[in-house]
């Protein structure tokens, strides 16, 4: 009976896994085939034509540079803020929380023009700053960190305080190490959103040398009414491969890091 249930569980999971991966496999199939005589033949043609359509090495570096800064800033700054939110009571807390929640709840389509106006006045259009600083503390991450820090027993901090540690020492020596699983989630989450971010980099950069990968790819293969599926999927695959690699290389840390749990580590 137990064996049967286990087999059923496996079969179910395997079916779901196939459904989960199939669309992405399909993306690679479209990207890697070209019409041959009467059918299809595998080829890297689409990748080559996409890569040749612009300075993709530069786009790639821009994406990496911006993502690295945004991820680093969020891991540090969002946990600082999340900590204060979880542990401290302060005047204006409600207002601040509501205000920041509001930034998540107002559709970006209406804040886009004000954002552009602001950046134009600051002369930040077409700079890295415009792609990094506004995203350095993401509200989503703040709430995630504060949510997680609430689950850490406060006694551990008190013990450190008794040992004479100051506020920042407690934060860095006790809270941050214990919050590693949540930090991992913050890191992945930020990296994913940032790597895939399209609208703001598109609106806020002008020159080719400032473009990020998604922006560079969007310029190719999609006309007003026409779609070149091969190059389009090759471009999509190009944008996805780095992130897949990052995920596969770090997945031990990402997933196992989360599952090991910090309380015992």
């Amino acid at each position: 009976m137990k064996r049967f249930r286990r087999a059923a569980l496996y079969a179910g999971l395997a079916a779901l896994l196939a459904a989960s991966l199939y669309p992405l496999v399909w993306m690679f199939v479209i990207a890697l085939r070209v019409p041959g005589d009467g059918g299809w033949r595998p080829s890297l043609e689409h990748f080559v034509s996409v890569w040749r359509s612009g300075p993709f090495d530069r786009y790639f570096l821009n994406s990496v540079w911006v993502a690295a800064w945004v991820v680093g800033a969020n891991m540090l700054l969002a946990s600082m803020v999340g900590y204060a939110l979880a542990r401290r009571s302060f005047r204006g807390r409600r207002v601040l929380v509501l205000g920041v929640l509001a930034t998540l709840m107002v559709p970006r389509q209406v804040t886009m023009i004000p954002v552009y106006l602001l950046f134009a006045k600051m002369h930040w259009i077409d700079t890295y700053a415009a792609l990094i600083v506004p995203f350095a503390v993401d509200a989503f991450n703040v709430f995630l960190m504060s949510q997680y820090i609430q689950t850490i027993p406060e006694e551990l901090e008190d013990a450190a305080r008794v040992d004479g540690a100051g506020d920042f020492a407690v934060f860095f020596r006790v809270v941050l190490p214990l919050a590693r699983p949540a930090l991992a989630v913050v890191a992945i989450n930020t990296f994913l959103t940032n790597w895939n971010s399209f609208l703001y980099p598109l609106i806020l950069t002008h020159s080719e040398s400032m473009r990020t990968l998604p922006v560079g790819l969007a310029l190719y293969a999609q006309g007003e009414h026409s779609v070149d599926w091969g190059p389009l999927m090759a471009g999509s695959a190009l944008a996805t491969i780095p992130i897949l690699l990052v995920f596969l290389v770090f997945q031990r840390y990402i997933i196992e890091g989360i599952t090991r749990g910090a309380l015992k580590g």
Binding site: L9, L13, L17, A19, S20, Y22, P23, L24, W26, M27, A73, L77, M80, V81, A84, L85, R88, F90, L96, G99, A102, T103, L104, M105, V106, P107, Q109, V110, T111, I113, P114, V115, L118, A136, V137, V142, F143, L144, Q147, T151, D167, P181, A182, V185, N196, F198, P214, W229, M233, T240, I243, L244, F247, Q251, R252, I255, I258, T259, G261, L263
Partner: protein
Amino acid sequence: MVAARRASTWLFLSPWVITFGVFGLFPILFSFSLSFLRYDPLNPAGAGFVALGNYAEAFRDRAFWKSLANTGLFTLGTIPATTAGAFLLALALDRRLPGRTIFRAGFFVPSVVSMVVISLIWKNLYAPFGALNALLKFFGFGSVAWLQDPRTALPAIMAMDVWASVGYYMLLFLAGLQSIPRELYEASELDGAGAWARVRHVTIPLLMPVTLFVVVINTIRSLQVFIEVFVMTRGGPMNATLTTVFYLYDVGFFKFRMGYASAIAYLLFVLILVFSILEMRLLKRRA
């Protein structure tokens, strides 16, 4: 001592306060004030004060109501499915199962791909001669005009959305499951509780903070669904997939009525706020 603590509190908060004040507050206040104006972005000087005129118009606007209905359907349909699916996957993959790393990674992979790319791929799968119809044909069914039939277009997008986001929330639930001390399970096992009772009385209550987070974040995201519609259907056919954010985007950038678009955005904002607060109340009481 109190003063020092207060100072450090604000020091901790400062990154947030600064970035929020500059990059969050200004655009919000600006766009909020636009909602009381007749504002054409091509002619900012010609803006005129219309008081609550834009809001009043929304209440009379058929397309706006239609978009709210679609958005509501999308949210009510996807959130339970995504939350339950993510929770069950996390439960299944939390146990010691050979190859669980592969499963976890496999389910998570869709979330690393950008929504634009996902929508493009699925548009291809849903095409009249695409993979999905080929599958139907293989099993002897007729083909379905997934994105062209007003009855199936929105459900098709909803299914894609669940597919795309379930792995991410699974990961959050996995993280939450890890923070439940094993001793609690052991204690309830000693009390003679079965597997299901353990899930009900230990796992679900203790996962409430994570569930709350998952549901609220997903609500905020779902009520603003845009990219999927933008890439796949542009609101059609017959407005069957016209969501509120897509509608306000069309009003603002194609009809150049940014004031009215802002009013719609803030009506939606109120709705998101109300929903989130309701969810927080409801789920907190359960915990």
